[in-house]
């Protein structure tokens, strides 16, 4: 009997450690590969910046900051999408920061501060996601261009948020200390090698935690091969990142240096 339980425990440990490392590896390698080889390395032959077209570099930086931080381009169109989209990204970002507390020690005060309003943030995040899904489904024009992949990304994130929210409640709550200890073990240099030779550290067994972690791993693996690459891709968008000074400064076409 003990043997079986130990066997299951071992498999869970292997699984949890395994997906964490695989997901991180795929994510980092895939993301960098896309950014470098696919986006950066593909030449842009001509200057195609677009209005409001700053004529200086600081101008371009400001413009892009406006897009990234406040969704300026998006704000020109549909208000509902702009608000739901912005709330979604912003609260998602806050949740990411909050999760730092599992990876750093000592925990800075400002992260702890976030902890108090975590449930509110997560609820907002969920609400934004629901609006986004509903809009996708209900708006005929948007639903016309929506495919399974678009729902998949949203539902995946919803799953992550939902399992996260549930862990907040007493009944499901995993042992935070244990999780944190496990995370620190995973971050040790020798751990991946131990996993490779099948000596994983003991992982927390809470099913909800494992679900949460699995979904996050899936998201990370899916990320570099999906539209989620808009996050890094935006910075290479030639209509947004080019300075509108083609008449002043000669732009060289990388494949026609003339």
């Amino acid at each position: 009997m003990n043997g079986i339980i130990n066997g299951i425990k071992f498999m869970v440990d292997m699984y949890v450690s395994g997906i964490v490392y695989t997901a991180c590896l795929v994510f980092v390698a895939g993301f960098l590969w896309k950014m470098y080889f696919v986006y950066y390395k593909t030449p842009q032959p001509l200057k195609i910046p677009q209005t409001p077209q700053p004529t200086t570099l600081p101008g371009v930086i400001m413009r892009m900051a406006g897009d990234v931080l406040f969704f300026r381009s998006l704000s020109k169109g549909t208000t509902l999408l702009f608000i739901a989209g912005w709330v979604f990204h912003f609260t998602f970002f806050l949740m990411l920061i909050r999760h730092l507390r599992y990876f750093v020690y000592p925990i800075p005060n400002w992260i702890n501060g976030l902890g108090n309003s975590a449930l509110v943030i997560a609820t907002l995040l969920m609400a934004a996601l629901i609006i986004l899904v509903a809009r996708r489904y209900l708006d005929k024009k948007v639903s016309y261009v929506t495919s399974f992949a678009d729902y998949f990304a949203l539902l995946l994130i919803m799953g992550i948020v939902q399992s996260g929210i549930m862990m907040h409640y007493e009944r499901f709550r995993p042992d935070i200390v244990e999780i944190k200890a496990f995370m620190f073990e995973l971050m040790e240099f020798k751990t991946p090698f131990l996993v490779m030779i099948m000596h994983p550290h003991h992982a927390p067994g809470n099913p909800l935690f494992i679900t949460h972690l699995s979904l996050v791993a899936l998201l990370l693996i899916y990320f570099p091969f999906s539209k989620l690459m808009h996050s890094g891709g935006y910075f290479f968008s030639p209509t947004r990142n080019m300075i509108n000074n083609a008449r002043e400064v000669r732009y060289i076409n990388p494949w026609d240096k003339g």
Binding site: V145, S237, I252
Partner: protein
């Protein structure tokens, strides 16, 4: 041998390639479609989806073998190994244009662009929603250029396998995009459908599906030197006629100089300005400005075309070749600077691309090493008091301005942010008393295309043109109703051609369309010089 058979419309039995070509020719056959313009209410309503409503619209195909051969495209319609060539060309596009590659990858289908295209607004055809248009290409991209697509096929990635049907869809809907870039303004990542359309058109070209209007003009511009295919003596005649008219009207010795070596300014403008109406009115205006300001200028028979239709497809060589004439002329005539007339896409090429293609322009006067827009020149003269203006000459007009997309969203004027909106308006205000803008969501960076830009101006595209003009017409109608506007000033030859045709279609007088320099020309007080 098989070719002759094809021309007859008979294929040898079992000649699959020949039959495929016949089917394609049949599907893409042009037929005249009459559409009624919608009623003018002043409102731009977002229509409900009306699937396939524009599917029947097919512009004419180019069949002249000599032209096709010159342009480097297949001469006999769809080629036998088209799938292979299609994918090879697409691969090339993805490797040469970061815009295309990136925009294939990062669209989140948020739908911010769905109701931003004038063709969607005018037709309700879902494939005229910018993101749906992009998806036509993205489906092929996902199937053939991503790992999951290669491994698991089109069903898995929501992709498309190459098929004749797909070619028909591409040809139909990539020729219902005027590459106006309005959708891109609202896209959170600046995804530019124009870039995708340009690439798609070139891919179609490579397999032998070549639209006539646009490519015929590229051919003429490259071989004869201008879009209208006018020979040198015809150009000289036309310009002499303009000069005679001017002299007769004013009684002054106003020149329209041609090929004058050593002039200060080489002036290039779309060849339509030489005699089309209302374009020619602006040409009178340019000549008067130069005359009155005492600027020595010349036009060139070699660079008799400012426009550059090469921009409308992602074929860099086409564009480069056409652009070359301008810089050859500038060198040969030893001018100090180059000034360009009123035209949208011409300006995009001249200001944003020509420095890359043929720069640096170190043989020009280094104070003017960049091509200048005629509005920049005129405004400068106005500001310096070098032109005497009598605004009462334009008293009858309440003027509004249609921002040409390629200028509004494609370039900078005056080296200052928003110059491309403010400089033309300042010129108008400088020569007219009454100026009123159209509603804010239809002008400046959000301007609506006239409905015929970037290769869609052919008579065979009337359906697209009438429907695509709807938002602009509604906006004009609104301004007319609310503020009594009775003249729309333009800075684009295509806009002028399109709107002067659309105004009567929609029941408005054609005379309400004109160029900015038409207004300038009317208001300039000629004669006594006040110094420059």
């Amino acid at each position: 041998m098989a070719d002759e058979k094809k021309a007859e419309g008979h294929c040898n039995e079992g000649n699959e390639a020949c039959e495929a070509n016949e089917r394609i020719q049949e599907h893409l056959k042009f037929s005249k479609i009459k559409v009624k313009p919608p009623k003018l209410t002043g409102e731009i309503n977002i229509p409900d989806l009306n699937p396939n409503s524009m599917f029947e619209v097919k512009p004419q195909l180019l069949t002249a073998k000599e032209m096709l051969a010159h342009l480097g495209y297949p001469t006999d319609g769809l080629i036998p190994n088209w799938k292979e060539v299609f994918l090879r060309k697409m691969d090339e596009m993805l490797k040469k244009y970061r815009s295309v590659r990136l925009y294939m990858d990062i669209c989140v289908k948020c739908g911010a662009c769905v109701d931003k295209c004038h063709y969607y607004l005018g037709t309700g055809d879902p494939l005229n929603m910018p993101v749906a248009r992009q998806e036509l290409m993205r489906k092929v991209y996902r199937r053939y250029f991503t790992l999951p697509g290669k491994l698991f096929g089109s069903r898995f990635v929501n992709g498309s396998d190459l098929s004749e049907e797909l070619l028909v869809m591409w040809y139909t809907y990539f020729y219902q995009c005027s590459e106006c870039r309005r959708c891109s303004v609202f896209c959170p990542y600046g995804i530019d459908t124009a870039e995708i359309t340009m690439a798609a058109r070139e891919i179609l070209n490579s397999v032998g599906i070549v639209q006539k209007y646009l490519h015929e003009i590229i051919f003429k511009a490259q071989t004869i030197g201008n879009n209208l295919g006018m020979q040198q003596n015809a150009i000289i005649n036309a310009l002499e006629f303009v000069q005679d008219e001017l002299q007769e009207e004013t009684g002054l010795d106003i020149k329209v100089p041609i090929d004058v070596e050593g002039a200060d300014v080489l002036f290039v403008t779309p060849s339509a300005d030489f005699f089309a109406s209302p374009h020619i009115e602006s040409l009178y205006g340019y000549a008067k400005v130069f005359h009155q300001a005492g600027i020595s200028w010349t036009m060139s028979t070699h660079a008799s075309e400012g426009g550059n239709f090469g921009m409308f497809v992602h074929n860099y060589e086409h564009m480069k070749k056409i652009n070359k004439r301008i810089w050859e002329a500038a060198r040969d005539l030893k001018v100090k600077r180059v000034v360009g007339g009123e035209c949208g896409h011409m300006w995009r090429v001249l200001s944003s691309f020509s420095n890359t293609m043929w720069g640096p322009f170190d043989y020009l006067d280094q104070n003017y090493k960049r091509p200048q827009h005629i509005c920049e020149v005129t405004l400068d003269l106005l500001n310096r008091g070098a032109l005497k203006i009598d605004k009462s000459a334009n008293e009858e007009f309440i003027v509004t301005m249609h921002d040409s997309c390629q200028v509004a969203r494609g370039m900078e004027l005056g080296g200052v942010p928003n110059g491309q909106f403010d400089i033309p308006r300042d010129v108008i205000r400088g020569v007219c008393d009454k100026f009123v803008d159209m509603p804010a969501e239809t002008i400046r960076e959000r301007t609506f295309c006239c409905g015929a830009g970037q290769g869609l101006l052919g008579d065979d595209m009337m359906a697209t043109r009438v429907k695509g003009a709807m938002p602009r017409m509604q906006a004009y109608h609104y301004a007319k109703r609310e503020s009594g506007v009775n003249f729309v000033a333009l800075i684009c030859a295509i806009c002028k051609a399109q709107l002067s045709k659309m105004f009567p279609e929609y029941g408005i007088a054609m005379e309400e369309v004109g160029g900015i320099h038409q207004l300038v020309g009317r208001a300039i007080v000629l004669g006594a010089k006040e110094g420059v």
